[in-house]
Amino acid sequence: MAMMIPNSFRERYVPILGAKNREFLRFCELPLKKTIRINTLKVENPLEYAKSLKERGWILEKIPWCDYAYNVEGIEPGKTEDYFYGKIYIQEAASILPSLALNPKETDFVMDMCAAPGSKTTHLAQLMKNRGCIVANDTSYQRIKALMFNLELTGSLNVVVTEMDATRLNIEDRFDRILIDAPCSCEGTIRKNWKALSRWHPKVCRFMGSRQKALLKVGARALKPGGTIIYSTCTLAPEENEAVVDYGINKIGLSVEKVDIKGLKTSECVTEWEKEKYDEEVKKCARIWPQDNDTEGFFVAKLKKP
């Protein structure tokens, strides 16, 4: 498996990690744990339900930052009756963070700009107790079909599904909260899919970065004044993370708030990368290396519109 990590990537984060790069690479090669999120739209008492799963022989380990998510061992959760009933949803432990950070109110009008296959959308529906309204958007009908399947599976009833190129969204001051879980170079997903880096190149990161800035710009426009954007990726590339947040601060006029999630270990954000300097405010974002919490690599930023 080590062979699948390109040499240029092995050295890429030495300037940030220094001696810790070795540990980073070691974690990149470790298989990823399977995580389930208990769907409280269908399960009334997740704690009791987890107990009943254990009694049935499931080996569960609670995710520190989420009361209703567990690592699972010894079972393929996607082939169980619990999955069939929509009581559990299979979702990587780090990907539970964006919806938690967005923290929607039950009455909110929310947009999930890059929604398919719906992990975060269905989590948002759960947090909103099927009230309010979520516009869940994606670009291709193929991906939207997967999104709809998951909405039906989980019983998410407060979602409007749209098919648009989100960068062409032309809406002003409408949503209370927006989630931009942006398409990215997926560096952080190497543990789930060892082919994730097969087409990796720094050029891809720069290209994705420009797309992500465009997404943030239209998202900020669609947001109500005083509203919140969560910008997240499953990559570690500063070009796609801190650089995008820096753009949000200095080119769009957004402000940054601290991402504060109890039980989550985060690392310092990058303020200097390949001769570029980023606003010190980016330090309020959550940069998550695979070795921090034994998850995928991930990045979460919380932005406010004045």
Binding site: E81, L153, L157, E163, M164
Partner: protein, 154 residues
């Protein structure tokens, strides 16, 4: 329209109409969608909409017939009082994998709610002595028995 679907659920399954009081229904072709009420008053102009809520069922105009979906019954089936068929553990396992169940059941011919203890499996079609499987193929469990992984003995 909403009244027709609510009436069907009451007459066929004994689900009280109050259960659906706060939900909105929308028709699109033969599909009927059910959604949370808060959606209705939201400004969705300028959006290219592909669906809202989940599919409640299909309405076949010619035959004046409603076919409820498994996903909808998993949410609302717990309020039913009739045309419910209760499966044994073994039958449940078969049904979730796409098999029909052949035996006399206490239900009228037509669509039924398939249950095992507290769990609603979904929709079934009961026709005199035979429960025809209505679980969508993409949703069925794989044929091997459980999700538990074989011990590899390392």
């Amino acid at each position: 329209m909403k009244a027709d679907y609510v009436k069907y659920m009451a007459e066929r399954f004994g689900i009280h109409k109050e259960v659906f009081r706060n939900y909105t229904f929308r028709e699109s072709g033969e599909k009927v969608y059910i959604m949370s009420p808060d959606i209705a008053d939201k400004d969705v102009s300028g959006l290219r909409i592909r669906g809202t809520g989940i599919v409640f069922g299909r309405f076949f105009k010619k035959e004046d017939k409603i076919k409820p979906t498994t996903n909808m019954l998993q949410i609302f089936g717990k309020f039913a009082t009739k045309n419910i068929v209760e499966l044994t553990e073994e039958e449940k396992s078969q049904y979730l994998r796409g098999f029909d169940i052949e035996r006399e059941m206490d239900a009228e011919n037509g669509y039924v709610i398939v249950k095992h203890e507290q769990d609603v499996l979904g929709c079934g079609l009961y026709v005199s002595g035979s429960l025809k499987n209505q679980i969508p193929k993409a949703k069925r469990l794989p044929l091997e028995k459980t999700g538990h992984l074989e011990k590899t003995g390392n």
